[in-house]
């Protein structure tokens, strides 16, 4: 059933950390806001989405996320955030609009039910299409590199390394091969907490400043392409050492990274400085080797190999030739290179392995969604409010 032409299609990539929103057909999301609600200690006011960014005093702020372990557990709060996110993007409200929403694979039926209720009843949308973010990221990648044989077959393996978890998703002919999907319960959030733990023991107690730690992690991390060599380098030289100058809330509003500045004799520092060395690469290293912290799950390279090899062997060459990394962690320097380096030996020699990164690994899923939302496919695939009222969730 085709939604009426009056409804505009709004595209939302509903991530664990941020929610990206914009109209279908646009090249980039119009807004990216924290996917959270918050309160200032002692204050009665509920902060929603971008209110949180507007808070000057982060230290007195408490937040709640509607997404836990990657899944929306609190649809009441999520609807409020979506409503806020859509303001300024849609002319009025979500009422009567059509929505394309990302939803993780294997979402539990109870969550899907709550999602339909929120979208059709609370938000008053008239049509809804939910698709997994990795599928949309591949759509975007295939549009960026259209001449690849795998792209033409809409085929590839998406490594979605996000905030809550990391998924490896093989796709053939535009369809997710569900039985070959692999997940590790580690993402950007766990890495930030891990870095916080490390620096809090090694130099300065940063446990109350997790928001700042997220920023620091993004600013200083890199993926090692030669772990042994980098460990030696970190131990015997200061080549990898950097300093992060912490904001003091007065003269320095934002922190920044700099080369280590040695102190002259008798001189004392006026600024607060966090020195980072092997943490820079040992933190993202967790995704490649979760057993380092006692999580008994294989690392990313083995996940990709395992996932592809769970599909029909005829597909292996096509899938391995089009491994696509997306999500926040994919922006970490040398992520792509390291994955290729570790994946290569796990794949039979005669099969070509290629790892790709979309132009914007964080926005890729939204951008793919924008393409689908603007195509005739949308009306064909979407569930209308009438469908929902007749049949409930399908």
């Amino acid at each position: 059933m085709a939604p009426s032409a009056s409804g505009q299609v709004v595209v939302l990539d509903d991530g664990g950390s941020t929610i990206k929103v914009g109209l279908a057909g646009q090249s980039d999301p119009a807004r990216i806001l924290p996917n959270a609600t918050g309160k200032v200690k002692g204050g009665p006011q509920l902060l929603i989405g971008d209110d949180i960014d507007a808070q000057a005093d982060i230290s007195s702020l408490s937040i709640r996320r509607p997404i836990e372990k990657g899944y929306v557990v609190n649809w009441k709060a999520q609807a409020q955030i979506i409503d806020r996110a859509c303001r300024g993007v849609l002319p009025h409200s979500t009422k009567g609009c059509s929505m394309l929403l990302t939803e993780p694979l294997f979402t539990l039926p109870a969550i899907q039910e709550a999602r339909c209720q929120a979208v059709f009843e609370t938000l008053g949308c008239q049509a809804l299409l939910t698709l997994p973010a990795p599928l949309l990221a591949l759509t975007q990648h295939c549009a960026e590199v259209p001449n690849l044989p795998a792209s033409r077959a809409h085929c590839g393996v998406v490594v979605d390394a996000g905030f809550s978890f990391t998924h490896v998703v093989p796709i053939f002919d535009g369809k997710v091969m569900k039985s070959a999907v692999r997940r590790i319960d580690l993402g950007g959030k766990a890495l930030t907490n891990y870095l916080t733990e490390l620096v809090s023991y090694r130099s300065m107690d940063m446990r109350e400043e997790a928001y700042l730690m997220e920023h620091i992690k993004n600013a200083i991390s890199f993926v090692s392409t030669d772990l042994k060599a980098d460990l030696v380098k970190a131990k015997t030289s200061s080549k990898l050492k950097v300093e992060y100058v912490l904001p003091d809330g007065l003269s320095l509003a934002r922190g920044f990274v700099r080369e280590p500045v040695p102190l002259a004799k008798g001189e004392t520092r006026t600024e607060q400085v966090l020195v980072l060395n092997n943490e820079r690469f040992l933190v993202p290293e967790l995704i490649f080797s979760p057993s380092d912290i006692g999580l008994q799950q294989a690392g990313l390279p083995q996940m990709v190999a395992d996932s592809v090899m769970a599909t029909h062997p005829d597909l292996w060459p096509l899938l391995f030739s089009n491994v696509v990394v997306c999500g926040g962690l994919a922006t970490c320097p040398d992520f792509q290179e390291r994955l290729l380096k570790d994946l290569r030996p796990l794949v039979p020699d005669h099969i070509k392995v290629d790892v790709w990164k979309p132009k914007d690994p964080i926005a890729a899923a939204w951008q793919g969604g924008s393409r689908v939302g603007a195509s005739a496919q949308f009306a064909h695939l979407a569930m209308t409010k009438a469908d929902y009222e007749e049949d409930g969730i399908r």
Partner: protein, 179 residues
Amino acid sequence: MPRATEGGPSDASGRRTGRSRKVSQRMAVVSETDREQVTNARLAALETDGGLQDNFGADSDAEFELQDSDQEAELGDQRNKRKRKANRQASRKTRARAGEVRGHKAFAVLLEEADLDPDDTQPNYLTAAMGPPLDGTPRRWCSVCGFAAPYSCARCRMRYCTRKCYAVHCDTRCLKFTV
């Protein structure tokens, strides 16, 4: 069993002090269970909403949850399964209470209610979980400085590289978890 976790050296707030007390009481049991709990708690702590502090509700303490641990890997597969199940059940209780306070159900509760079969031929949330690593020997990093660590603490099995790091380990993190 010494109550080493009582109040860390850097307990910045009452909330943290309260939390570590709870842990130390729970840890006044047998040592193998202790170690496992510490590893689990540490993994669970990595999952908390550090992003910004999530501390205005009653659920901030509900951090004990389902994760596999170092120690489990050393046990047989069957025992593994049973243990994991027990872990899950314990954590569910905590989680469920937290959910009531929040007015919505926690993911662990929803997962429990969905009653999924990890051996289902149809793929589901549980079947998609990546299995253990193939290459046997886990790498060993010093829990204090991060470099290669030849030794492990007799009490908690965390690794350390030198006497100096061992001293720091004992002071700050032996059988403790914090983020």
